[in-house]
Symmetry: C2
Subunit: 400 residues, 2 copies
């Protein structure tokens, strides 16, 4: 099997690791940020744009592609890599998170999840075996086990039930996985309860996955709660396999999780914020429609080497945004993703040069890594997931 | 003055000419198609994309940029070339056509046009002097005289009045033009009346412009009527200056007008159709959302060398379009503009090789250039202008 994780360096004073993940479609370096290409495209960008800004791996959503255009169609067209013209590492999620967050009428059973399409109301059932079958048809290099993502807040009993179900489903995913050119990751659930997270880690470890994800975070809990779960759980995971914090977060969230030993992140923040005119800079977020940028000839961030900052002024980007031009979304996305990927590149370099902790400190004076519990303001705002509100409504759903 | 028109070759049997237009920002080859970048951007594309597909000159709309972000702001930011990162030939229209087509309450007088912004209802007056002032602030290489575009249908008296006003305004534009790095084009009006068109050509010629446009076409009249006006009027224009057919048209419309001696064209058809999922191919238009493309692994047009056709299937483009992905608009626009620019490149080559008439005949079996009055179907549909319906409503507007 082509997949393996090569650890190049371990930070002496933190949990951070520098690594390379080898997949059937090439290598990506860790810690890695994974841009989100929900429907088989990172919105507004081509694969060439993504490579130019340093993206080595991207993510696509199984739920969306299963419903439209259909996984069998994509398989028959040569697989998702070919379909979307991305010949590099690719990850698909299991579809579970979207089933829960995009649907009001979800029925969860030991067998799987039943839901109605958000597109046309048609009924579907996804079992663990089906989630693997869909992902094998799509053909990503890393695929994920079906899990039940516990909403926040959830009591210990509900979190435990969801975790037990996740474990049962994980074993079935493991058992039904057939392709040896795909890595299968297990997802740790357990809500905010350390005992559940620990039990989940141990049980998943016994099943033997190619990597492990921390799921059920950034679903409504506070930022400090999230980091507490990460700091408690990440160190329990197998040392020699990649660790993936799903759906997180701001640059600061990622830096903090890297210090705890997390290797992979995906998040819609840079791309979605870009389309809403919120741009990431070292100092925080810049809202491009602000009137003070109307005559501002400077780039989004002076010194930034992205295509957008090399050629366009804040005044022009504000004009494009107010005029609702498509190019606004494209140029803003280029900048924000470049910021994220460059941020992660700086983290990797700081690990290589054994100065990660200092880098985080000096780069973000607003945050003191010695006091992660103070709840200080994140200059880049909250880490949120699409339809988090939907996920929080999970109380309405029935367990049958 | 940097501007001049160099005629490289004249076709023996038709009116077609092969040429080069020299501007303050470089050269473009004629016959030329000019992509439309209404609000300071060709929707969804960067200047690099445009250059890669062979665009040498683009157009931007004075009306839109005057209202937002404002011509003085653009001037203070270094001019439109710099603002939009396009360091090549650039043309702006006078704003007149949009004033008439995007506004219901327009008052036309000898002084100029009074209208309300389609954005916020604010009142504005554009005089010929103001149209020049705005275009000098924007700084395009080719600027246009303010004209009154006669709607269709218009009687002889109305067309004559509009033409006389256009002549008066043209002289005032000529008199108020100050920048010697900008070429000023006059616009021939006169509706569908040969006597008026002829008088207008002669009067404009006496004022001495750097080029001449045929205006007031593709505003609701039949295709054959339009071509009749072109074939009657183009040969009357000065031989040694560029001729520009504004807002036209389908590839076939352009080919026919080239045969009559037209050198420049602009039209929103390729870009607007692209965003609506209508793609140009040699055989006609392809509607990408059609179910028959769902599993079609072939490119839009086999053999097409555009970026989109080199990397993406009809199945993928259909998926992107149905999923309302931004990338759909971008990839479709790349293909359609490439088709138009490549089409014009083939016309230039055919002129150079003295086989234009044969090229047109063999390439478009559906159309016989010997029988332009037959009203045969254009494989690429009708040539329409944005808000043509609005322009046709002109009867409601008052002449004060």
């Amino acid at each position: 099997m082509a997949f393996h994780f090569e650890i190049l360096k371990k930070d002496e004073t933190t949990g951070a690791r520098l690594g390379k993940v080898h997949t059937a479609h090439g290598v990506f370096h860790t810690p890695a940020f994974i841009p989100v290409g929900t429907q088989g495209t990172v919105k507004a960008l081509t694969p060439e744009d993504l490579r130019e800004m340093g993206a080595e791996i991207i993510l696509s959503n199984t739920y969306h592609l299963y419903l439209r255009p259909g996984h069998e169609r994509i398989r028959d067209l040569g697989g998702l890599h070919r379909f979307m013209h991305w010949d590099h590492p690719l990850l698909t999620d299991s579809g579970g998170f979207q089933v829960f967050s995009l649907n009001d009428l979800v029925k969860i059973s030991e067998e799987g999840v039943q839901f109605q399409s958000h597109l046309d109301g048609s009924r579907h059932v996804i079992t663990p075996e089906k989630a693997v079958e869909i992902q094998e048809a799509l053909g990503a290099d890393i695929i994920m086990c079906l899990d039940e993502c516990t909403p926040y807040p959830a009591g210990h009993a509900e979190a435990e039930r969801a975790m037990d179900l996740t474990l049962s489903w994980s074993q079935r995913c493991r058992d039904s996985s057939r392709r040896d050119d795909q890595a299968l990751f297990g997802i740790v659930q357990g809500g905010i309860y350390p005992d559940l997270r620990k039990r989940c880690v141990e049980a998943l470890g016994g099943m033997g996955f190619d990597g492990y994800a921390l799921g059920g975070l950034s679903v409504g809990e506070s930022k400090e709660m999230m980091h507490e779960v990460v700091s408690q759980t990440a160190p329990l995971l197998p040392l020699d396999q990649p660790r993936y914090l799903m759906g997180v977060g701001t640059p600061l969230d990622m830096a903090r999780a890297v210090l705890e030993g997390v290797d992979m992140f995906d998040c819609v923040l840079p791309t979605r914020n870009a389309r809403n005119g919120m741009l990431f800079t070292r100092g925080g977020k810049l809202v491009i429609k602000n009137a003070r940028f109307a005559d501002d000839d400077s780039p989004i961030e002076p010194g930034c080497s992205c295509y957008t900052c090399r050629h366009y002024s804040r005044a022009y980007l504000r004009h494009l945004y107010l005029a609702q031009e498509i190019l606004a979304m494209r140029l803003n996305t280029v900048h924000n993703l470049h910021f994220y990927l460059n941020f992660m590149g700086q983290i990797r370099q700081a690990i290589a040069e054994e100065r990660l902790k200092d880098w985080v400190k000096t780069c973000y004076a607003q945050w003191d890594p010695e006091e992660t519990d103070t709840g200080q303001q994140d200059p880049w705002g909250s880490s949120s997931r699409p339809n988090r509100a939907g996920a929080k409504k999970r109380g309405e759903k029935s367990f049958v």
